[in-house]
């Protein structure tokens, strides 16, 4: 899809206004606690203009750019998962009657907010689609995607075929171009409601120069990925290697902290918990985020099936790259690199996969 329109930087807030007037609650990147996280956006002043991120294994720093790009960074610790699958959901609540049964079961009737996601990246659109396939969702956010202007230090969407250019799954997609004195957004329209919103925003037709500039941004991003992962036969590779000594090696480093599962846009595991009040007359059932890295996760009568760190790291990685295929028909990984960046000890899923592949005597296809 190529850009048909251009919105000037000066008119960017008109886009936000158009969304607000249509009742959308805009959520997008903001700067908080030295990280770029998703929160309410009222105007472009809320965006991390002029900031970029430096990411590596176990490392995330923000630095000033030498321009005022609104989207001059990769992805931060938040993903859109928190909206598709909120961290803590009350499923129902009820009283407990004299017979120990549930009385007056109340299920929440609220509609999900009408979100507009501003700044969703291609990897994130794939992540949302993958997650949706697993859990299903009524969420139908208006998506203003941003085609990445720079690859992050831990990004490998090219390897996973999930970017850096989104070719669908959005209502509008923007490519930010800063060139000489110019600062504008090349706009691709991805849906009828996207086209409709655009009519309310000052814009002009895109010229070849605009399209070329956008294409150059895309190519530059694709060529500067921080990581690579060879996905050739990766399911079978991991299925063959459940007893590989590499799992012991990574287990020596892994803290089983579960950060990776929190930041991953597709990790979906939840725990279902009933809580009662002190006199046992009222009960609530919640579904909240859980992680396969906890010992309790695999608890059955007699203990946990996965007590060792080795087995829990292996479960996470083989699920993400291999068994997800058999369970849900796609890979679980979108190459966003968050698990690498936010691992306190910098464990790198691409490096682990490479180590196992290379030990079989097949050199890694990307090395």
């Amino acid at each position: 899809m190529t850009a048909a329109h251009v919105i000037e930087r000066g008119d960017f807030d008109e886009l936000l206004g158009a969304l607000s007037r249509r009742g959308y609650q805009i959520v997008g990147p903001t700067l908080r606690d030295q990280a770029i996280v998703y929160d309410r956006i009222e105007s472009s002043a809320d965006l991390p203009a002029g900031w970029k991120d430096e990411q590596d294994g176990g490392r995330y720093r923000l630095r000033r750019r030498d321009d005022e790009a609104l989207f001059g960074y990769a992805v931060g610790p938040h993903s859109w998962k928190q909206f598709q699958l909120p961290p803590n959901v009350k499923l129902w609540e009820a009283g407990i009657d004299d017979h120990g049964g549930l009385a007056d079961v109340a299920e929440p009737a609220s509609e999900p907010p009408r979100y507009a996601f501003l700044g969703a990246r291609s990897c994130e659109l794939h992540g949302m689609a993958i997650l949706d396939r697993v859990i299903g969702s009524d969420l139908d956010p208006f998506v203003v995607a941003v085609q990445c202007g720079q690859a992050g230090g831990t990004c490998f969407c090219v390897s996973m075929n999930t970017g850096p250019v989104a070719d669908g799954g959005f209502d509008l997609a923007l490519t930010e171009v800063i060139d000489g004195g110019e600062h504008y957004f090349a706009v691709e329209v991805g849906s009828e409601r996207g086209a409709e919103v655009l009519t309310d925003v000052p814009h002009r037709e895109a010229l070849d120069t605009d399209r070329n500039a956008a294409a150059a941004v895309h190519a530059r991003t694709a060529a500067s990925m921080g990581r690579e992962l060879d996905t050739t036969g990766i399911k079978e590779l991991l299925y063959r290697n459940y007893e590989h000594p590499r799992w012991d090696e990574v287990a020596d480093r892994c803290l089983t902290c579960g950060n990776c599962t929190m930041v991953c846009p597709t990790c979906f595991c939840t725990i279902v918990e009933d809580t009662t009040d002190l006199d046992g007359s009222h009960v609530e059932r919640h579904e909240r985020w859980d992680s396969c890295f906890t010992v309790d996760y695999s608890h059955i009568h007699g203990g946990a099936v996965r007590s060792s760190a080795r087995s829990r790291y292996r479960q996470w990685m083989t699920h993400k790259l291999a068994t997800w295929w058999d369970q849900f028909g796609t890979s679980g990984c979108v190459g966003c690199g968050r698990c690498i960046t936010w691992c306190p000890v910098g464990i790198d899923i691409t490096e682990e996969a490479r180590a196992i592949r290379e030990s079989e005597g097949q050199p890694d296809a990307d090395s």
Binding site: I300, G302, G303, A304, V305, S307
Partner: protein, 155 residues
């Protein structure tokens, strides 16, 4: 530095064999060291090696979903693994080194082949292992009656 022959001879396991038989067995053997945690035997896998423990301890285990159940532990001078001698030649349990072990490992496939030709050698090995098996069976039965849990009759 002791040789494999010396080690096997001292174990008494093959005492009374003809020198040529003994030599053949020693020829199928070598020293091996393993770290604690190493699985020497894996349930269901083909039994192609068995072991004599020089120093160390090996636990015979059955793996349950929540972890291994230790059936018995074997120590210095004991043999780990019998199923290599009996069809279908697959291990019935796991055998895990519970501490670093110094072992003599025997090439079971090689010995099996020899035993099929040399029935006298086969007989000698069978009688030794049978005695050991009866000993272990008796111990296992004793474990089974759970003497600690039951009041003895008449108590």
């Amino acid at each position: 530095m002791r040789t494999v022959e010396q080690e096997i001879a001292d174990s008494g396991l093959f005492a009374g064999l003809e020198p040529s038989q003994f030599e053949f067995i020693a020829g199928c053997a070598r020293f091996e060291r393993v770290d604690a945690g190493t699985l020497l035997l894996r349930e269901g896998e083909h039994a192609d090696e068995f072991f004599l423990i020089r120093h160390g301890a090996v636990a015979l285990e059955l793996h349950a979903p929540t972890g291994p159940l230790v059936i018995q532990t074997l120590g210095d001078g004991e043999v780990v693994g019998w199923s290599w001698l009996f069809a279908p030649y697959t291990w019935h349990m796991d055998g895990r080194a519970v501490e670093p072990c110094s072992l003599v490992s025997f090439d079971a496939a090689c010995l099996r082949g020899k035993v099929e030709q040399d029935h006298e050698l086969g007989y000698q090995l069978m009688t030794r292992f049978a005695a050991n098996l009866i000993d272990r069976l008796q111990a296992t039965r004793f474990q089974l009656i759970d003497v600690y849990g039951r009041a003895p009759a008449g108590a």
